[in-house]
Amino acid sequence: MKGILYTLLLPLLLTFTVKAQNEPRISGSYTNTPFAEWVKDVEAQSPYHFFYKTELTDTLSVTLTATQNTLPELLDRLFANREFHYAIDGQNRVFITYGWEIQTRLPKGFFNTLETQKPDHTQAPDRDVLVDYFQPDRKQTDEGEGLYEIGVRTNTLKEGNAVLTGRVLNVQSGEPIVGANVFIKNPLIGTSTDPLGYYSLSLPRGRHTLHITNLGMREVERNILLYSNGELDIEMREAVQSLQEVEVSAEKDRNLRRTEMGIEQLDVKTLKQIPSAVGEADVLRAVLTLPGVKSVGEASTGFNVRGGGADQNLILFNDAVVYNPSHLFGFFSSFNPDILKDVQLYKSSIPAEYGGRLSSVLDISSREGNKKKFAGSGGIGLITGRLTLEGPIIKDRTSVMLSGRANYSNWILKLLDNEDFRSSRASFYDLNLGVSHQINKTNDLSLNAYYSSDRFRFRSDTTYNYRNYSASLNWKHIFSDKMYANFSGSYSAYVFGVESEANPVNAYTLDYDIAQTQAKADFSYFLNIRHSLKFGASVLHYNLQPGSYQPNGDQSLVNAETLEQEQALENAIYISDEYAITSSLTLDAGLRYSFFHFLGPQTVYDYAPGQPKSEFTVTDTSFYAANELVKTYHGPEFRMGLRWSLGDHSSLKASYNTLRQYIHLLSNTTAISPTDFWKLSDPNIQPQLGQQLSLGYYHNLFGGQLEASVETYYKTTNNYLDYKSGATLIMNPNIERDVVTTRGRAYGVEFLLKKPSGKLNGWLSYTYSRSLLQVGDPLTNENINDGDWYPSNFDKPHDITFIGNYRFTHRLSFSLNVTYSTGRPITLPIARYNYAGSERVYYSDRNAYRIPDYFRTDIALNIEGNHKVNKLAHSSWTFAVYNLTGRKNPYSVYFISQNGSVNGYKLSIFGQAIPTVTYNFRF
């Protein structure tokens, strides 16, 4: 490779000595002469030949007098204080550029061998040789040696841009790396790899150093010489801890460069460092450590992003929606940590390709199976075990990965002394299957399937179970260097059931299910260096069984009742353009338009306008046939992002988003419970609407070693559901009569200081935020707090989180988490009175008080086994203590009247320090 380069450059270098002697002289007097005319005149009286873009010079006029001047003298005068630059090569070609300079001088050390050949006294004048674009701070890596020539070789480089495309792959497993940054530094042009690891960059032709970075991977550099459009695949190596000398500096600058804001990314390594209460890496618990994410308490399924409801998060697992992301009351998340690749949380600018939820998108993706060799991994704990097997079907092209996880706590429950515990049962398991196949260079196929099942029984009479199903098929196709597409089909379902047999007369079974089928097409089109377009469409079909209540057993008198099925179509189209207005100002403008069609068969009640909805105000009842259109909602959603880069180390971003959500979670409990269920918007329940404005400032210190940012936001929501007192949610065919709609507003500011890499890594964040609701329904007599704004259940203004990891040696690391937050709001009793023979309490306004503040410290020690290559299995141990200080953080505060008096209690879930041990292996 080097040889080719020498032969290419040598003739150019040999012209060094030739030119200084007889430089052509130019004479003439010009007044407001158009540049093009002046060029003609100069070309006529000299051997020079000009190359320039007319659109750049058509406003340039020449006023000067030349008497036997050299061309550089004239051009220096002409371009003084202007953004124009010029370069003249040995063949008297003159290149005029605007905004950037063609470097023509070879620095010392560019070619060691050539430097020795070049006599030291040879004083190479300026601008005599056009070599190419060049990176002065070029850094060699062991992988980056050599020059990669891209495209059809030509003797001279053409002007303008060429498109470089390719794929970034993990060298060990062959799986594509998603979200890797591919960029050149001067001028700063970059992109990220798409979900299949592809990138596409439009670069000026010539020589560049391509940088490829990704979290948890070693940085790669490639020296390229770009002749024309072409391809370059790049393999990356994981940042193995034993290679101490490699500084892991992935993700540096990423926070500055992307237009989107409020994106949090976690990789598996970070996930595994965060100590958890159950000894297993846990996605949802890790997400909760991010700024702007809160929950109502430990062991709760839902999380709240920037003051939004728990149902306003779109949780995607390999592009398929997951409705209940947790096992065992939220002690475990539904995602097996062994197969995860990364997790992205979008909390302020939500790309136009996502829709259907107001607050956030949590995009969880699993790894592809190993395409090179068979491998396995797993872990064993006292109540859970997990195992993953993966390997190639066709080497380097097709891989399969199968993994399972099971909880076997029943045997422990049986050993307990308490009778209620002994007759209780709790267990869960989940299964994952992933197949990926590379058909050819332009087509890629992957299939993912997921199943989870939970079952628990309290005492011996009531059994709860719930299951998640999902499957997705993705086909990625590359049309050209500039355009690729991703087609996907997915199916997701969530089912729960309750079975009671305590009293044979009232014994019942209750079943609920929701299923959605979705087809999506997403296109990416790199129009030119300034415009990068994304567009696509999706079709989504919902089918819900909102409740089926059946007698259980012969003696049961329960009235079999089945609520009407609900079905709907949610379709959307979108387009977004990432537009580089100048090199420092980028606009990402997106528009999504969504349509929601509520379909029959359905019975729909009309209510008297201007009156509360109740059985007494029904004015008409309409029956709709199967698939008949009942109601359509539609509207645009705007997704705007603006990035203004303030030099190399800081940037300013702003975003404005509007969103629509056509599905509601019905729950009147504090925590999300497994029996909460989803309801579609219908003629009487309006879709939820939201908008968010955010502003952020990002600054990188110490060359990206430390990232600092501050983001602030203001958002409003409409039509979020709250419940009338005494509302029946289960088996209610007219839920619209029992709910009230609320308006919400949330605002806050988030400070984050992050050290992404190094021996000591982690982050410190502080958030101040508020989340308030107000009954927004004039048609209800239910006036929570007299119609004033009241704090939502997850309004926790102050939040400080520290996540830290220190690596002592390659095999020993220590993690520390500290988190503090204001206690969540609660409705407190404020007065006592006697009623029905007992003392009772009268409650304050909704959420007028707070439970005591939350504080928790966790530590973990990770010990890796040795890294001998030929070992049968690699293993690691994690020793962790959750809630080290043993603080009894109240989960819930409640008051009960017992035997005639009112007593207050607080309940904590983890009342002591909880040590755990986990053993993990890999082979």
Partner: protein, 379 residues
């Protein structure tokens, strides 16, 4: 090895799921809390009692009855009828309600005028059965079954009065009277058998709307753990009263119950705002607590004798009691029994009584455990 694993697992689970409940007394809450509380049902052909009180702050003791109110019942087409103030916040009347009319309550107290909404007269159907079952091998669950063949009632509420017979540890046949120990007149002067009566303190309300008949089957009322108290030691009786509710009244009772009895587990609902059908006419901002219903009440009584329980049990209710003896000697006996620390139980001796057996009053006099000696008329 087996034991080791068992030990480790128990250790782990007890640590991992170490949820704990502690007492919590927030040093809140000084909000103004002087709200009117009205409790009672307008009963047709039965003694109606309306209880009026005011709320007090959480850390204060006792209830605050309103004794200066004037209370009247107004029918939608009948003249107002005043209730009689019988003290302690109670206002009584014997009413005869007309099923075709709606009724409301008017309360004038502390310079404010309060009204209830007009409520319909809803009569309760007969109780089909009050029964019991042995549960968990050591407790008796009292239950009520009911129903309305016309399918009109749907919403039910019950309260009850329990009465039970119990005995003191020792039967005293002697008494200390006029400074000497004398035999008691039997059986009139026995103080070993008492009857205790207690009103229900919890809320029992149910609906049959989920069933295809208006039937309530074995709705659980009182649970008696045999180990914990003496209610079934001899004979027990419960008088269950049944009220028919409107849907709105049922919601009130249901919310009141879930707000104050049911909270605490992870998935319980938040306290919700308690509805009321009372309002302050002179100050609409002032909340009033309570819900008025009207109608006829039905009732049914159940008896359970100890020998009906299908197994035998005998718990010592007086583990600290023991008999002591003292030589019969008039001076000594005077000093011993006159201060009421001891009550003579019986006397013993070989040829003639030489010693009295005695015990502390709580072991001898059953009235000290809260009951009365009078046998109820229904017993």
């Amino acid at each position: 090895m087996k034991d080791y694993w068992k030990y480790i697992s128990l250790f782990m689970i007890s640590l991992t799921f170490s949820g704990c409940v502690e007492e919590y007394k927030p040093d809140v809450v000084n909000a103004p809390n002087n709200f009117l509380v009205v409790e009672g049902t307008l009963l047709d052909g039965d003694s109606t009692v309306i209880l009026i009180s005011r709320t007090s702050s959480l850390d204060s003791l006792g209830i605050r009855p309103v004794n200066n109110a004037s209370v009247t019942v107004e029918g939608s087409s009948s003249p107002p009828f005043a209730l009689e103030n019988s003290g302690n916040g109670m206002y009584k009347a014997l009413l005869s309600l007309d099923a075709g009319q709606d009724y409301r309550l008017k309360i004038e107290a502390d310079n404010q005028v309060y009204y209830s909404e007009f409520v319909p007269v809803k009569n309760a159907p007969e109780i089909s059965n009050v029964g019991w079952d042995v549960v968990s091998g050591n407790a008796v669950q009292i239950n009520v079954s009911s129903g309305d063949p016309e399918n009109n009632t749907l919403y039910y509420r019950w309260d009850f009065t329990e009465t039970w017979e119990y005995r003191s540890a020792y039967t005293s046949v002697l008494k200390f009277e006029d400074n000497e120990v004398k035999p008691r007149d039997l059986p009139e002067e026995l103080i070993n058998t008492c009857y205790r009566t207690r009103e229900s303190t919890d809320i029992y309300a149910a609906s049959s709307t989920q069933l295809n008949q208006d039937v309530i089957s074995k709705y659980p009322l009182q649970l008696i753990r045999l180990e914990d108290d003496n209610r079934l030691d001899r004979r027990y009786s419960i008088l269950v009263r049944q009220y028919a509710l409107t849907r709105e009244a049922y919601e009130f009772w249901d919310i009141l119950k879930s707000n104050t009895e049911n909270l605490g587990t992870l998935f319980d609902p938040q306290p919700s705002q308690l509805p009321s059908n009372f309002y302050c006419d002179t100050d609409p901002e002032e909340p009033v607590i309570g819900y008025l219903s009207a109608g006829r009440v039905t009732q049914k009584r159940l008896f359970i004798a100890k020998d009906e329980i299908p197994f035998s049990f005998d718990f010592n209710r007086y583990p600290t009691c023991s008999l002591d003896s003292i030589v019969i000697d008039s001076t000594l006996n005077y000093n011993y029994f006159s201060n009421s620390f001891n009550i003579p139980v019986d006397a013993y001796g070989i040829f003639e009584p030489t010693h009295y057996l005695h015990a502390p009053p709580s072991c001898v006099d059953c009235r000290l455990a809260g009951g009365t000696l009078e046998k109820p008329t229904f017993w």
